[in-house]
């Protein structure tokens, strides 16, 4: 048995040596006196398959038992002699005995099955370290295991790969047709060739499953990678060249906020270590697929990025990055990053003349969400510089054919801007436009010089032609203030703007807005304009001088001006409106005299009033007060009870006009219903009503309304019918 152990073990190690040292291997060793000392080998040196077959028929428990007594003898001998390679390049016998014995013990104890394996030692390379490399012959190749692989700042334990063809000679290792085991079930096809003398490694991964990468790099598992990739790495001393191609690569985070599908990427680069600095250069070409990186969605269409820089213990530097975005333009940049502090130290970006329409659609609009929908067309060139403290400069050259906000709600044509902003210097931006429109209102051309000094902006006066008038903005100042008390130094903008509307002719305005022709002039003074919480607030008053009197609009707010349902809130006071002019304008019949009106809490959605409390009443003072038969009919149709019909049935029909003392009407609009009232309440039980026209003079006529709740839609349709001249009295 003693002889058997020695024989078996020696055979095992020599069989192993045969794979690794073909030129000086097993046969040569045997010629110098090895196995042949114990055996007569008539059919020559047995192959490792033969050796394996022998081991498999041995009982591992018996082997282990006798091994324990044998090993103690071997250890005693080894104390007197070093284990190692002899001058001919093969391992001395005792060393081989011990190594084989250890391997045998390991195999028998660990797996209760006899297998051959050999420790190949470690590889120490400037770029990586591989420790506890062990090989083990298997059917169809060799199983190679690496206890620890370190490189690129990470460490992977217990790598296992099976090589169809495997060579090990003079510290050189070659593996062809390899399969790297990753995770429980996945393998990555791999070839590599390591030349120890030149410290050169060539490594190829072919059509590897991206999902299998998660087995090697657990942090990738959360991204659920799918698809295939191939990669090559050529490592020569301290220089590395690499290439990576992905095919139908897909990934997604759990939240679904970042994901890619069908991605075809080509990545290539070089890395070289010079002293303590690593110089790198890389290029990425995105040839297909799509990416969603909330809120942006991008399709691969040949975008490329090339970049180069250095990395050392203190910094990451991108010296030259060049991005080409097909259909949009080119972007160049540099970047500096302080590694110990983890902060950006410098960033500069500069574009060529970008096509704004696709650039805005891809990068700008997604930031705004569903509304407002903004369309831009033209070119833009920009440059940005940031240093360790903050943004240092920003340059913009904008040349837009047009800008359209919210499907034509606000349009400007030929918008040009030159913005040379500097953090530490005073400059002036020039902004101009050929005009456009705001709603239905046409806007003329304007030019705006904007003074800039750090985060302070301002202009003295800008005139915007509107129809035959001018909208004047003046004394604009805006300042960005950092609230030091707030956590993280939260920044807030403080701004103010005053405005005025120089007289605008109402006939032109009413025609433009599709309203009945109104006489008079519209003007406004707006001491302060503010925008906050999606609400535009105009402090001050809009004054409309119309119908020989005036309307004053105060407390004007536009809520959600670019949303789906912008609403206007205001209080309106009208004084001394000439009823003759007014009724003529609206084809209401004829009334002479003057009225005052108050509309409180008016809230408009689009052109529809949502709610208000309104009162119309004859103005105080002495003046002629006559009302025509037709006007009586029309007023009664708004809420009366057949006054017009009553006239027709009585002798009053012979009079064209009647005298009146007071006309008045109130309406409280809530929930689409107008709750109506008049100048006086009329008692009368079931016939109680409200006085809309209080008669006076000769012949006098009073109109009483009985219907207190009128649908606003119905009221509007009645007014439209009146305006169309086909009103009939409503008898209810």
């Amino acid at each position: 048995m003693w002889l058997c152990i020695h024989l078996v073990c020696s055979t095992a190690i020599r069989a192993t040596l045969y794979f690794s040292k073909r030129e000086h291997g097993y046969e040569k060793a045997e010629k110098s006196g090895g196995l042949t000392r114990f055996l007569r080998l008539e059919n020559g040196i047995p192959s490792h398959d033969t050796a394996n077959r022998i081991f498999r028929i041995l009982d591992p428990k018996q082997i282990e038992q006798v091994f324990r007594s044998w090993i103690s003898g071997v250890v005693g001998t080894l104390r007197r002699k070093r284990m190692g390679w002899d001058d001919d390049g093969h391992m001395n016998l005792l060393a081989a005995d011990l190594l084989a014995a250890v391997l045998l013990l390991f195999s028998s104890v660990a797996t209760a099955a006899l297998q051959l394996s050999l420790e190949l030692g470690s590889i120490h390379h400037p770029a990586f370290e591989a420790e506890r490399i062990r090989m083990q012959p298997e059917a169809g190749g060799v199983l190679l295991s690496i206890g620890v692989l370190r490189g690129g700042g990470r460490q992977i334990r217990d790598l296992r790969l099976k090589c169809r063809d495997f060579d090990w000679a003079s510290g050189n290792i070659r593996c062809a047709g390899g399969a790297l085991k990753v995770g429980a079930d996945n393998t990555v096809p791999i070839d590599f060739n390591y030349v120890a003398a030149s410290k050169t490694l060539d490594l190829t991964l072919r059509d590897a499953s991206a999902a299998s990468l998660a087995g090697l790099l657990p942090e990738l598992a959360a991204w659920r990678p799918q698809g295939k990739f191939s990669a090559t790495l050529h490592l020569a001393g301290s220089k590395a060249n690499f290439k990576l191609d992905t095919s139908m690569l897909a990934f997604a985070n759990v939240a679904g906020t970042q994901a890619g599908e069908g991605m075809m990427l080509h990545v290539a680069g070089t890395v070289r270590d010079v002293a303590d600095t690593r110089q790198w250069q890389a290029s990425i070409a995105w040839q297909g697929g799509e990416v969603y990186w909330q809120p942006w969605y991008l399709k691969g269409a040949g975008q490329t990025i090339t970049a180069s820089g250095i990395v050392d213990a203190t910094q990451v530097r991108v010296d030259a990055a060049h991005a080409v975005l097909p259909g949009i333009g080119v972007l160049d940049g540099q970047l500096g990053w302080n590694r110990p502090r983890g902060v950006l130290t410098a960033l500069s970006l500069a574009s060529d003349a970008w096509q704004v329409a696709p650039a805005w659609a891809q990068f700008g609009q997604p930031l705004l969400g569903e509304t407002p929908r903004v369309k831009l067309d033209g070119t833009a060139r920009f440059a940005l510089a940031i240093d360790a403290s903050a943004t240092r400069s920003f340059d913009l050259d904008l040349d837009l054919h047009g800008i359209d906000v919210s499907e034509g709600r606000f349009v400007l044509a030929d918008l040009r801007a030159n913005v040379p902003w500097r953090r530490d210097a005073a400059t002036t931006a020039q902004i101009s436009s050929g005009g456009g429109k705001l709603g239905e209102l046409p806007l003329g051309a304007f030019s705006l010089p904007l003074a800039m000094e750090g985060w302070r902006f301002g202009f003295d006066k800008v005139e915007l032609p509107v129809l035959d008038g001018r909208l004047l903005f003046e004394n604009f100042t805006a300042q960005r203030e950092v609230n030091d008390g707030a956590k993280g130094g939260e920044a807030a903008w403080r701004w103010q703007l005053a405005g005025a509307l120089h007289p605008l002719s109402m006939p032109l305005l009413s025609k433009t807005l599709g309203l009945p022709r109104m006489e008079g002039l519209l003007s406004a003074t707006i001491p302060r304009i503010e925008y906050a919480d999606s609400t535009l607030t105009l402090n001050g008053s809009l004054i409309v001088s119309a119908f020989d009197g005036y309307l004053s609009v105060a407390g004007l707010k536009v809520i959600d001006p670019v949303g789906h349902a912008p609403r206007v809130v205001a209080d309106i006071d009208a004084r001394h409106l000439d009823l003759a002019m007014l009724t003529q304008t609206f084809s209401f019949g004829s009334i002479t005299g003057y009225i005052d009106a108050d509309v409180r809490g008016l809230e408009m959605v689009g052109r529809q009033p949502q709610s208000f409390v309104a009162r119309i009443e004859t103005s105080p003072g002495e003046f002629g007060k006559r009302i025509s038969q037709r006007a009586v009919q029309n007023i009664s149709s708004l809420g009366g009870a057949g006054a017009g019909a009553a006239i027709q049935r009585s002798f009053l029909r012979i009079f064209d006009t009647f005298g009146y003392e007071k006309i008045g009407l109130t309406c409280r609009l809530v929930g689409g219903i107008c709750e109506m009232g008049g100048v006086e309440e009329i008692e009368g039980g079931d016939r109680a009503g409200y006085l809309m026209v209080k008669g006076g003079g000769l012949p006098a006529l009073s109109v009483i309304g009985y219907n207190r709740r009128v649908s606003w839609e119905e009221l509007v349709s009645r007014l439209e019918a009146i305006a169309a001249g086909n009103s009939r009295p409503v008898i209810e």
Binding site: G563, Q608, Q610, G671
Partner: protein, 135 residues
């Protein structure tokens, strides 16, 4: 078209619940309903796919973004945000239109239950305990 009609029916039924007390025929409500009806055509396939669910707070939630094709994901995210803004505005407007802004919370609760009750089979709805389940 069918889904839009169904959705409108759903809306109407939600409104009908409180019709004895609540008037909704105001321009703001009409405008919001109109915007929501148009948007529903965009959202309906994503209710069916399970990407969107009807939440207990009467909002729409993007419960499984990865079920939305990448090309539509940004638009769906934006549409869900806009839908929830409109829903909040709708509840507020209905309360306001009745002269009782304080009813908004009750109206929201009423709508939440009606949205869930009327959801089509296969749509995902949130239980009172906050879990998602398929109808």
């Amino acid at each position: 078209m069918k889904t839009i009609l169904l959705w409108l029916l759903l809306l109407a039924s939600g409104v009908a619940l409180a019709q004895s007390n609540l008037e909704i025929n105001t321009p703001a409500v009409a405008q919001i309903k109109s915007a929501m009806a148009v948007r529903h055509g965009q959202l309906a396939p994503h209710y069916a796919s399970g990407a969107l669910g009807l939440a207990q707070d009467a909002s729409v939630q993007l419960r499984d973004p990865n079920a939305v094709p990448l090309a539509q994901r940004a638009a769906v995210q934006a549409a869900v945000a806009a839908e929830n803004n409109d829903r909040t505005a709708l509840y507020r407007e209905i309360a306001k239109a009745n002269g009782n802004p304080s009813w908004e919370t009750d109206i929201r609760s009423t709508f939440a239950q009606r949205w869930i009750d009327k959801a089509q089979p296969g749509w995902w709805v949130q239980t009172a305990q906050g879990a998602w389940q398929k109808k």
